[in-house]
């Protein structure tokens, strides 16, 4: 087994050498960035929309207990049920209990990241209930037997050729070809349409919960979430405790930044608001359940990491991250990749190797810049690095830094020692301008050369140039 710290590095190295993955990433990379930029350019006050969305999320977290309690009260009053899942195991058990009680044989699924987090599909399969993904991206990766590599575009890592191959393997196509994207989408539409009509239960996630009326908001472009939520006799929403806001006005504030940040749309094609079915409704499931997952999120409240719970899962941070763009989502080995995943994964899952994800950042700050709810991702990553350094034991680093600060506080000694070192190094290097190798700097010099000192220090030359006048 490789050491945990090496895992991300090892996976990234593989990802960098995977030509299909690199082709898929190269296609996705400019699209997301361009689409978001043009959507943002179409509204003159996007910064004000962001500030409002951030205020809504912060206000929601400040009184999360009250909002969740009201949410539960409203859902129950309207004839639905709210279930609380402290752990992912609880979530699996709750969903399976509901499914068994209805005698379900198959379940359609809209996209639910919480379902992924809890490995719900595996649990359903083991219980003899066929889970059928309906979001095209999720359907593709279900065929491939892979986890999602992006929270908005789960099959982002797949090229068209790979998708065609999966369809040829699993569908009975006869003579039909899958020459175009349209052919692929039509084929999936035909197969999945049958699944909708057969399903006994429909499981979806939720983008927002509204306390005031006990409503679950679902955003999709395909309409798959709505067919999943509307056709079967039971609708189960699996989501997390942090999703709740007070009112419909608050939901509007989030919707205004969500799609613009995620896919560069002003709004997703379908934005639907669901609750339990009442007497006046013309169709819809008889049974409505909401399962709310905690899985350590509550522990982030009041901690240094509370701001992470502001996240609305738009994916903008990963779309703009140079590390994600280079290595893709699977390198993070987590349901949540990219900068938001690098913060969430160690906090929610906390396996030893997860802390190394905080190192997967150049601290360029683009994630924070594009985050629609103002999460200071680089600062949170830095805190995680500090925690991880404390856990790991610190090595010689802190002693070296302490030594340096002591030296730097003694100017005379500092000048003397730096002139001595530069002179010495200049003597050793002779006429070479740089070193390819240097003792103790093996890995540092793998992709760069070390410039050789040229005989005197900067301070020395400065003094000389100003005619010996010493103002230090």
């Amino acid at each position: 087994m490789t050491a945990p710290a090496e895992d991300f590095i090892a996976r990234s190295r593989e990802a960098l050498g995977d030509t299909s993955l690199q082709a898929a990433l190269a296609r996705a990379r400019p699209g997301f960035v361009r689409k978001r930029a043009s959507a943002v350019a179409l509204v003159a006050n996007f910064d004000a929309l962001k500030a409002k969305a951030k205020a809504v999320r912060q206000r929601s977290l400040r009184d999360l207990d009250s909002y969740l309690a009201v949410f539960e009260q409203r859902v129950t009053a309207a004839g639905g049920r709210v279930h609380w899942a402290a752990t992912t195991a609880d979530l699996r058990r709750i969903v399976l209990d509901i499914a068994r009680a209805t005698g379900a044989r198959s379940a359609t699924k809209g996209k639910t990241m919480v379902g992924e987090e809890a490995k719900l599909n595996e649990a359903l399969e083991e219980a003899g209930i066929q889970p059928r993904e309906t979001d095209l991206g999720e359907y593709i990766i279900q065929l491939a037997g892979e986890p999602p590599s992006h929270i908005v575009a789960p099959a982002l890592h797949k090229t068209r050729a790979q998708i065609v191959e999966l369809f040829l393997r699993d569908h009975h196509l006869g003579e039909r070809e899958l020459a175009s994207v349209k052919d692929l989408v039509d084929e999936a539409r035909t197969v999945i349409r049958r699944h909708y009509l057969e399903a006994d239960i429909g499981i979806t996630g939720a983008n927002i919960l509204i306390a005031d009326t006990g409503t679950c908001v679902l955003c999709t472009n395909e309409g798959n979430g709505d067919l999943t939520a509307s056709l079967p006799n039971t609708h189960i929403v699996t989501t997390s405790i942090d999703k709740v806001v007070a009112s419909w006005d608050d939901a509007s504030a989030l919707l205004r930044v969500l799609a613009r940040s995620a896919t560069g749309q002003a709004i997703t094609t379908y934005t639907s608001f669901y609750g339990p079915r009442g007497d006046g409704d013309l169709d819809g499931p008889e049974h409505f359940h909401v399962v709310l997952l905690d899985n350590r999120r509550s522990q982030l409240l009041g901690s240094d990491f509370q701001e992470m719970l502001q996240c609305i899962k738009c994916g903008a941070c990963m779309n703009h991250c140079p590390v994600y763009q280079a290595v893709g989502g699977h390198s993070y080995n987590s349901v949540y990749p990219g900068p938001m995943g690098a913060v969430l994964t160690p906090l929610l899952r906390g396996e030893p190797g997860d802390f190394a994800l905080a190192d997967a950042s150049t601290f360029c700050g683009r994630c924070e810049e594009v985050c629609p709810v103002g999460i200071p991702l680089p600062a949170l990553l830095r805190k995680l690095r500090e925690m991880s350094a404390r856990q790991r034991g610190q090595g010689p680093g802190p002693w070296l830094i302490k030594g340096f600060t002591w030296l730097a506080r003694h100017p005379r000694l500092y000048r003397w020692s730096t002139s001595l070192t530069t002179a010495l190094l200049a003597r050793i290097s002779g006429r070479r301008g740089s070193w390819r190798r240097f003792p103790g700097l093996g890995r540092w010099l793998r992709y760069r050369d070390l410039a050789a000192p040229q005989g005197s220090s900067f301070q020395h030359q400065w003094r000389k140039a100003r005619g010996g006048e010493d103002r230090a």
Binding site: A24, A28, F32, V43, N45, A48, K52, A55, R59, L64, S66, Y67, A69, V70, H83, W84, A86, T134, G137, A153, P154, A155, T159, I163, V181, V185, D186, R189, I210, A211, T213, N221, E222, N224, D226, L227, A229, S230, S247, D249, S252, A253, R256, T263, Q265, A266, T269, T271, S272, G275, P276, G278, G280, D281, L282, D283, G284, L292, S298, L301
Partner: protein
């Protein structure tokens, strides 16, 4: 122990979980603390802005004086058997040579009326009290009737007009169904309607 999660959250926030009257009072106070809504900045008038956004969303818009006039157009442009929502079945479909189809597993053409339009995103709102959700998503093609007078500028205006949360489902629809899951290429006609026609009716409601 259904409440342990909620209790843990309250504890982290330094409070005891509230219930009943106390919870309701607290919630009303919290709602009162909300900042004012911030709508997106727009410079065009409501109907004009609605149309611009709706076209961007790939709605196919026709402007007609009345519903009858729109029906006549339906015969020439859409020679498909329609499945109208209940409240539209009284219209004289027969006089235009159409046989109605009751909502089936896969209606060819759904015809529905939206309760409102929202200009900020070029969106229409349809509720499960007037229209079965299945009709909206199973139809191959969809006609949405919208009266001009029902176009609002911003989402919040709809929430205040509708008493939302009263129905099982409120759908905000912004064009035909689509996906970009294959190599980020936009493909219209994912699981829902492949084309969505929007009839903007200018006469006052009957």
């Amino acid at each position: 122990m259904p409440d342990t999660v909620l209790a843990a959250i309250a504890r982290r926030l330094g409070r005891r979980p509230l219930t009943g009257e106390a919870l309701e009072r607290r919630f009303q106070v919290l709602k009162g603390e909300a900042e004012a809504p911030v709508p997106p900045a727009t410079d065009s008038d409501v109907v004009c802005g609605f149309k611009t956004q709706a076209l961007r969303n790939l709605f196919e818009i026709s402007e007609v004086a009345s519903l009858q006039q729109a029906l006549a157009a339906l015969q020439t442009h859409l020679p498909i058997a329609p499945s109208p929502q209940a409240s539209l079945r009284h219209l004289p479909w027969g006089s235009y040579g159409h046989t109605l189809v009751e909502t089936a597993a896969a209606p060819a053409l759904g015809v529905v009326e939206a309760s409102a339009g929202i200009a900020e995103t070029g969106t229409v709102a349809v509720s499960s009290r007037e229209t079965p959700s299945a009709l909206l998503f199973l139809a191959e093609e969809l006609v949405i009737v919208l009266r001009r007078e029902n176009i609002l500028a911003f989402q919040e205006q709809l929430w205040h007009k509708l008493r939302p949360g009263d129905c099982r489902a409120l759908h905000l629809i912004s064009g035909p169904s689509r996906t970009a899951d294959v190599e980020q290429t936009l493909q219209v006609g994912a699981h829902g309607p492949r084309r969505v026609y929007l009839w903007l009716i200018s006469e006052d409601s009957p």
